[in-house]
């Protein structure tokens, strides 16, 4: 008696081409290289409001006993900083602020820049004040009368 056997056809060795994958990867690589920005950016808060009432009370200008007196720093259009009418450098301002903050760590510091000063001048002043350890810092400006 003769039988027959079914033979499985030999599997064909398929080759998967990786050329299209390389193409897609190259396109993605160029896309990310061209469109991304590699500048290290940080931020300085300019306005922060909380829903809690009186979360950060406005600094007082009172010089009564027990109330901290504000340090007002003016910034001239040319970027020069002045405290009580005296021009100060970043070093002398740091020394002045440290002396005031040693006496009272919650001393409010108010920056009053001229509208003609540049943004870099304000950021430099804010850096100096922050590095001195001040925690209550405000920027004020003259608003138009309503």
């Amino acid at each position: 008696m003769s039988g027959f056997a079914l033979k499985r056809p030999a599997r064909r060795h398929t080759l998967i081409s990786v050329v299209s994958m390389i193409d897609v990867m190259m396109i993605l690589l160029f896309f990310f290289m061209v469109t991304s920005s590699y500048l290290n950016l940080d931020m300085v808060p300019a306005l922060q409001k909380t829903d809690e009432p009186n979360a950060d009370p406005a600094p007082t200008t009172s010089t009564q006993a027990g109330a901290p007196s504000t340090v007002l720093i003016r910034i001239a259009p040319n970027g020069t900083m002045a405290v009580r009418g005296q021009n100060v450098t970043t070093d002398s301002l740091t020394a002045l602020l440290k002396a005031r903050l040693d006496a009272d760590p919650l001393t409010p510091v108010v920056l009053f820049p001229s509208g003609g000063a540049q943004l870099q001048d304000l950021i430099t002043a804010m850096d100096t004040v922050t590095k001195s350890g001040a925690v209550r810092v405000k920027v004020i400006r003259l608003g138009a009368a309503k």
């Binding site: 991304s36 590699y38 931020m43 910034i75 820049p113 509208g115 000063a117 943004l119 590095k131």
Partner: protein, 134 residues
């Protein structure tokens, strides 16, 4: 006597190394790059060493030294800016507004913008700085 050159074997060039390097570069650029919308004008942010990390999300307003504005990379005028910011704040009152102003921009422009945003109901406005010289 005639010497026969041995037949050169066709070498199969492997692309595996190329794929490896490309993948490495792709992941590198994806991780270190930021896909922020760039302004249609040059903006050099001010140098500031006490800034904090810039969170993602929110809207970015670019300000040129001459006061030209661009919101999320598209040029915009003051009236349209107010409307757009008002809409965004209505949708999400906690929207972060990032001001990417050039370091030479006059403060009258920047501070007026911050006051405008405050009047529109913004709660969170930040100035973009860079800790290193661009």
């Amino acid at each position: 006597m005639k010497l026969r050159k041995p037949q050169r074997m066709a070498e199969r060039e492997t692309v595996v190394a190329l794929i490896d390097v490309t993948f490495f570069l792709l992941i590198f650029f994806m991780l270190i790059g930021r896909l922020d919308a760039t302004a249609p004008f040059a903006v050099k942010p001010p140098l500031g060493v006490t800034g904090t990390d810039l969170p993602a999300g929110g809207i970015t307003l670019s300000v040129a030294p001459d006061g030209a504005l661009a919101l999320d990379g598209a040029p915009i005028d003051h009236a349209a800016l107010d409307k757009s910011v008002t809409d965004r704040i209505k949708k999400n009152p906690d929207t972060l507004i990032r001001i990417n102003a050039d370091k030479t921009t006059e403060l009258r422009i920047v501070l007026n913008l911050i006051t405008e945003f405050e009047d529109l109901g913004a709660k969170d406005v930040a100035l973009i700085v860079t800790p290193e010289t661009p």
